[in-house]
């Protein structure tokens, strides 16, 4: 994956983005580490690209600034997004960026073959999806986590998470199930931790991708 062109598009200029890299050094390190676990061959660039997209998005940007900037202005207002929503968003963006990277590697391999055949019209990476498409893709990634992992959950955990997702408060769930509120909280917490394990499993590098050769910069 080539280093992202931070000056292209978005509301952040090149100099602002350079500042952002400094401001969010720890976040970039964490994202880079996750990108590596997801099988990225260029985790640093993947992390930068995910951060760039998160700062370009008007909804995620205030949350990123509030939760992860190195120094928070004293008068900073809490963002509309809670922390877990931002984390899920970052995970989704990063997952998508790594997926794009893998597609690029595949395309480069194929395009290298096509180029040898003389079809130079095909020697371009496919355009990135529009921002609203990115939202949809991230939503799909989160849905996929739930779809994959929910059936494996213990019935009690699944039941309370379902009730929680339907908007019920812990007290309401406890009343319906005839258990204490503490039990509900425990089941929710354990259910979420089990889902977290599923998230971890989903970040295992794909073996078929690992077998691919290093991307050849300049092929495109």
């Amino acid at each position: 994956m080539n280093n992202p062109d931070f000056s292209a598009g978005g509301r952040y200029t090149l100099s602002e983005t350079r500042d952002a890299i400094t401001d969010y050094r720890r976040l970039l390190n964490a994202l880079g580490s996750r990108a590596r676990r997801m099988g990225s061959r260029d985790p640093e660039s993947a992390a930068q690209e995910a951060l760039k997209r998160s700062l370009e998005n008007t909804l995620s940007q205030p949350a990123v600034e509030y939760y992860f900037s190195e120094e928070l202005p004293p008068d900073a207002a809490p963002p509309a997004w809670p922390l877990d929503q931002l984390m899920a968003w970052l995970h989704g963006v990063l997952h998508f960026v790594v997926l794009e990277e893998h597609n690029r590697v595949s395309n480069r391999r194929e395009l290298a073959g096509w180029a040898r055949g003389g079809d130079s019209r095909q020697r371009l990476d496919p355009p990135d999806p529009a921002p609203d498409q990115l939202d949809a893709l991230i939503q799909r990634e989160l849905q996929q986590i739930m779809l994959e992992c929910l059936p494996a959950l213990d019935a009690d955990y699944r039941r309370v998470l379902k009730m929680r997702a339907s908007g019920l408060k812990y007290g309401d769930i406890a009343e319906r199930l005839g258990v204490s509120e503490n039990t509900v909280a425990t089941w929710v917490s354990r259910g979420i931790r089990t889902l977290a394990q599923c998230v971890r499993r989903r970040m295992q590098p794909r073996s078929n991708l690992a077998a691919m050769p290093e991307p050849q910069r300049g092929d495109t």
């Binding site: 964490a30 809670p82 984390m87 995970h91 986590i145 997702a165 889902l195 394990q197 794909r206």
Partner: protein, 361 residues
């Protein structure tokens, strides 16, 4: 401040920021927050929960068919699933749990090694184990009576004697549980109280039967002690099978380290006379590999499992077990594509065996 407080929205924004900073250094916390976000995201699309229940008819039918086949398969092959000695070991095995292995328990891959299973009572032999008074097999006895060219000895079926066995100058003709009679060959000069010795291979077989009988009737520790004590009776090659049985008993008793060490010792003596057959080698190496995987040590499991898989003249059922375990190994190493291939091959091998058994029961 912790994730539980956050989950119940008990954290202030400032505390949530501190939690966020903490998550940058703590992968588990990061993942938990992502999972929490995924759950909360379903508030916007609660259809996720519904969609987990909505199964298309075609898939439902396939799933039902698969369940029937799996039930049949598990019923037929339940004798091959190794018992799990401890929760810790189970957790290590099931950790990858991404793909279905040849057999699964709660969607967790299961290692297969029939050698590690408790011995069935048919191997135990009559008059052994806990039913009625018994004694351990003896390797030596004495002549207790002489009459009309026949000798009586205080050794019997418990000691491995069968009709036709030669005890020095005596050919056994009648066998009881704890004594036997036989003809004296060519009028050999023998007297009462003369010692007689059971051939070593017969004695070790008797010990094996007694060990199986004790284990089958719940006397696991007695069985292990008997097997351990008998190890000194012969050479490394002669007692190798006993060592392998002891390893299985160790495993059944939860002593997985001892089991592994005994299997390792057996594997080191495959070529000590009498040399181990390919099937014995493959079964032992498969069990050894499975134990390494139980310990969460795929690196050490690789060699014995690959060596077991390289044996050609082995039982197809055993091959299916080995390939299944290679799948678990690949899964633990994160090589999911290879794991999937291995499980497919194991399934194919097991199904082939089952078809053959149906044709030639």
């Amino acid at each position: 401040m912790n994730i539980d407080q956050f989950a119940t929205r008990d954290l202030s924004p400032t505390e949530a920021r501190l939690l966020a900073q903490q998550a940058l250094e703590d992968t588990d916390l990061f993942d938990t927050l992502v999972a929490q976000g995924a759950v909360e995201a379903s508030l916007q699309s609660p259809a996720i929960f519904r969609s987990t229940r909505r199964v298309p008819w075609a898939i439902a039918l396939c799933a039902a068919a698969a369940a029937v086949l799996l039930a049949f398969f598990l019923w037929r092959s339940s004798s091959r699933q190794i018992p799990q000695p401890s929760e810790q070991a189970r957790a290590i095995v099931s950790k990858p749990a991404i793909l279905p292995s040849l057999e699964t328990v709660n969607d967790r891959p299961v290692l297969l090694a029939s050698e590690l299973r408790p011995a069935h009572s048919p191997n135990a032999g009559a008059f052994r184990g806990g039913s009625g008074p018994t004694r351990q097999p003896q390797s030596t006895g004495r002549i207790v009576a002489l009459e009309a060219g026949e000798a009586s000895v205080n050794l019997g079926s418990l000691d491995g004697l069968t009709k036709g066995i030669e005890l020095g100058p005596i050919v056994i003709t009648t066998v009881f549980r704890d004594h036997a009679r036989g003809k004296i060959v060519n009028g050999s000069p023998i007297r009462i109280n003369d010692p007689v010795r059971v051939p070593l291979s017969i004695h070790l077989t008797a010990v094996l039967h007694e060990v199986d009988a004790l284990a089958a009737t719940g006397g696991l520790s007695q069985a292990r002690e008997l097997a351990r004590n008998a190890l000194s009776a012969g050479s490394a090659g002669e007692t190798r099978m006993l060592l392998e049985r002891l390893a299985a008993l160790d495993y059944q008793a939860g002593a997985t380290d001892a089991a592994r060490e005994h299997y390792e010792a057996a594997a080191n003596n495959f070529y000590a006379p009498p040399a181990a057959s390919p099937s014995e080698q493959a079964a032992t190496l498969n069990s050894l590999g499975a134990l390494y995987l139980l310990r969460g040590d795929p690196a050490s499991a690789e060699k014995p499992l690959n060596q077991a898989a390289s044996e050609t003249a082995i039982d197809p059922d055993l091959r299916a077990q080995i390939v299944n375990n290679l799948g678990v190994l690949s899964e633990m190493k994160g090589d999911l594509a290879t794991a999937r291939d291995d499980y497919s091959r194991a399934h194919a091998q097991a199904n082939l065996t089952r078809l053959r058994n149906l044709k030639h029961p």
